[in-house]
Amino acid sequence: MSLELAGLGAEAFETVTPGQFAEFDLTGASLPSPEDVPVELRDAIERKILLRRPFSFSDVRIEDGRAIIDVLYAVVGAATVRMAGLKPGDEISVLGPLGNGFTIPVKKKLAILLAGGMGAPPIQHLAKVLAAGFKNIEVVTFAGAKSSDDMPFAVSDKNTAIGPAEFPDYGLEMLIATDDGSTGYKGLVTECFRQWLQTCEHKADDTIVFCCGPEAMLASAAKLCEAEGIECQVSMERRMACGTGLCQGCAVECGTGNSGQSVYQMCCKDGPVFDSKEVIFDL
């Protein structure tokens, strides 16, 4: 889905960074007819929705003073069913951009991007920003999904077990992993990344890993990066009621140095991107 924003909305999105998000109000979007709704969601769509829903972006472009926001999403519940029913020309209220996106340290020489399942959109956005504006940083991307059908990126025949492939559009190297082996490496994307890292010449200090995906995948990447001494940023996901820090619902447990104590930070305001060393993952 693409959203077009003019005026203030376009201005607000001019400086957006990959990993930031927006809250969409889908309460006014009409429901598709029941036969177009997957059976497992037919009960869910009868629920009257109330809250906004947070979405990150797979791309944001400014064209003729308008911001074009691409949103990749899966239909999983009462709100996304309504989103799928939006037609060209429909309007929704967008609150954003919100939160803190990925921080790109300019001195790094190698950026490794890990996308798991529906964690792909902000990674795609980040890949584009890196490819366009950080020519001195080599970028390698990894994408994982249950199977090739679940892969949100276009996958070409060139993807081999552990070998170079084209990242759609941006000309970046990409490696694919699927749980069932239907495309690329058979297994977890973090395991694919671990094996690749062993064969790749790199200096830990010059390398950074950016991650978005299921929490177990983020935890696994964080552990690997810590062992290798590589900086790692993870994009967290939590149930949110507001996205603006008001409700305090989207708590992410974070350590406080060596004290053994932990605090809850807010995914929406303090994140959603965190330094992986701060986060105590909820597994």
């Binding site: 309460t27 009257k48 109330l50 609150l95 009621a241 507001c242 008001l246 409700c247 305090q248 932990s262």
Partner: protein, 310 residues
């Protein structure tokens, strides 16, 4: 020709710019909503609950949407009294709305200590006594469901509050809310706010587990509005009308019409809660909407709406 409408109100001796508050736990500690609206047009602002010591709050999930509502179990997560005074009071000093601090605790002494310390702050107009939070193991509803307990805690905190306004927030999860309201008034409450969230539960049928980590949470949003209206009307008729104690009505308000319903039922002012999450500028739109309603219906003073139910 349109008449000028006076939308300022007197609320327990406080002169307020409008009858619209933002409810505790839905508007942060201070100026978080300032990016979205002119917060000075608010009548009152109620902070997140403050406890003596910082509280980490509950594990996640802390929130879940339900039919036309949501459950929350934040667990009174807050920065604690000391940090609140240091960091938030300077921000609150700049706001013109009447500032109410929502005070919570596990023991009466804690409530008293927090209130006494904050009563020294000129920026604070009053306190909202949170004896009705459903999401902590001790305190909260535990205090708010026993009339003798309500009276005692109100008396103790009233002394600590000195010349500040003391508003007691009532839980709807009781057999007869008027008995509790009566106890709060007997204890010296200057105002009552009702209702807090309804204790509730949501279950994930696939996992056969409660959605919230705390298992139960407080239900808010449009789903509870008709029940909240009824309870405000009940307390107004049975308790506060005769004593002249004002009610701050809340529970599922999303627009001016909802706010007016609460006032007609007996509320002197209203608070917007869950809807701050969805439309963060809505509180001010409600101020305008109430004024417009008064003009259309020939009321020249907004307080005429209170209890105007025929």
């Amino acid at each position: 020709m349109k008449k000028d409408v006076n939308i300022t109100i007197d609320f327990a001796g406080l002169k307020l710019a409008s009858p619209v508050f933002t409810a505790s736990g839905t508007c942060g500690y201070a100026d978080e909503l300032a990016d979205f609206m002119d917060i000075n047009a608010l009548g009152g602002f109620i902070t997140k609950s403050i406890t003596l010591l910082p509280r980490k709050g509950n594990p996640t999930p802390r929130v879940v949407e339900t039919d036309a509502g949501m459950l929350n179990a934040i667990g009174l997560a807050n920065i604690g009294l000391e940090q609140f005074i240091k960091e938030k009071i300077p921000l609150l000093e700049k706001m013109s709305a009447a500032i109410f601090v929502n005070v919570a605790g596990q023991k009466i002494e804690e409530y008293v200590q927090v209130t006494a310390e904050l009563a020294k702050q000129p920026a604070i107009a009053g306190f909202e006594l949170n004896i009705s939070c459903p999401n902590v193991a001790k305190g909260g509803v535990h205090f708010g469901t026993d009339p003798a307990g309500v009276r005692r805690i109100t008396e103790e905190v009233k002394k600590a509050a000195a010349d500040k306004v003391l508003m007691v927030k009532l839980t709807p999860s009781v057999t007869d809310i008027s008995v509790i309201a009566e106890a709060a008034v007997a204890g010296g409450a200057d105002a009552l706010s009702l209702v807090n969230t309804f204790t509730a539960m949501a279950i994930d049928t696939e996992k056969r587990r409660c959605v919230l980590a705390n298992r139960t949470g407080g239900l808010s949003g449009p789903a509870i509005k008709p029940m909240a209206i009824y309870l405000v009307n009940k307390v107004y008729n049975e308790v506060t009308k005769k004593s002249g104690i004002p009610i701050l009505g809340l529970g599922g308000i999303k627009n001016a019409s909802d706010a007016i319903e609460f006032m007609l039922a007996g509320a002197s002012a209203v608070a917007l809660g869950t809807y701050n999450f969805i439309q963060p500028a809505r509180a001010i739109e409600i101020v305008d909407g109430i004024g417009e309603y008064c003009r259309r219906n020939g009321f020249d003073n907004v307080h005429q709406l209170t209890g105007a139910l025929e």
